[in-house]
Symmetry: C2
Subunit: 265 residues, 2 copies
Amino acid sequence: MMTRGKLLHMNAGNGECSYASCSTLQRKVIQEAKPVLEDVIKKMFNNIIGDFPRSCFNMADLGCSSGPNTLFTVSNIIKIVQVLCHEKSCKMPEFQAYLNDLPDNDFNTIFKSIPSFHRDLKEAEAEANCFISGVPGSFYERLFPSKSLHLVHSSYSLHWLSQAPEKIENNNNIYITRTSPPQVFEAYMKQFDKDFSRFLQVRSEEIVTGGHMVLTFLGRSIPDPYGSHSAHLDLLSKSFIDLIHEVQYFTSANFLLSSSNSLRV
Amino acid sequence: MMTRGKLLHMNAGNGECSYASCSTLQRKVIQEAKPVLEDVIKKMFNNIIGDFPRSCFNMADLGCSSGPNTLFTVSNIIKIVQVLCHEKSCKMPEFQAYLNDLPDNDFNTIFKSIPSFHRDLKEAEAEANCFISGVPGSFYERLFPSKSLHLVHSSYSLHWLSQAPEKIENNNNIYITRTSPPQVFEAYMKQFDKDFSRFLQVRSEEIVTGGHMVLTFLGRSIPDPYGSHSAHLDLLSKSFIDLIHEVQYFTSANFLLSSSNSLRV
């Protein structure tokens, strides 16, 4: 089984089918979680440890993808810190923003949008020395030096597992649905448990004492693992199976055609 | 006049005409400068300041481009440090490698080559915790937080000015050649002086006390500014002018054709 890192990434560029053009849901999620982010930064600000956040505020956005949301969170964080600095009449720190996603993510498109990000901050009178880096790699591995981050943010990404559970028979489903056998639920649960434990382990090595994480990801509001959330996955599974049958039919037909052509030759 | 940042970048990808496939000269330059790099790192290693290099060795490669040379320097530095650590029986530090180039550089191709970079290090028994980031932007501006870098490296990049000198008449030449008027030489000299001073100013804010820079860039071995180096620039100027004439001729011919078609309609 290939790991997710070698298999998946959001659609690149700015075209009609790109992730950049189809990520309003994810933006809404970031907006809804903003009060939590504000509370966390306020708490960090009031419990200053060492010289933080007076020198450089190091933050990482894990699973940043490529589109208008990528720099939206960074911009939000800078504006929150600006308000706090203004209230306490203290100097704005510098910001180091690490944008992380898998190596196949379209970092080129993010990087081209950085000048407009700085322009927008200037227009919002929130100009800051903000240094932006792209960090390719899986967030289930180490990505940053030890004790180097003050704030880790991840929105709508951590429900992506490092890989599908191995050796399961799932009746042609792509996730847990009503027709999945009970051991499938267990297998996904174990995979999430393993991945999330690994995530916490590696982040604990990278975050400074007193640092924080704000993680937003999909969950269920009811205990039933086959609840309403899986309805669209049922449909997606069926569409994939139809597609596979069509490809198989097309390949067979093409093979027959080629064979008959060869026979004629 | 547009600045270089909005105008130029090396050819992307791995194709026949890509920079990645046409950068053996630049690799040779890196190899020739390697003894200087070794001396500098040895000096840093013997004059440990604070906890450097015991914790994390922060290095930046400015004008890294995209191709096999991009991670070659990082790999060289890790191997040099490994030998020194082995000699002194001390623990390898972690490495944070910042790869910088203009925002239009092909960072996507660099990032896809990172897994093979780690594999190569492992094969050379120089495995290290090396965290790689891409940093888009002009090296004539601030790119990193204050006092954050131990080593700055730049090879075959600093002869690129931030822009061509403004308001000069250069007889259709693209650089200093034998047919350039004397004030052109002065204008380029002033532009380099301004750019290089700015480069040193911003780096001095970013480098830690005791940090070092290894800069390799084109120079002249003779005082004559119209020396042999400009011969290929003469030819390039002439080719550009031919190309412009051809485009002008094609555009005029096309305009005439369109006009006569319109008349017929």
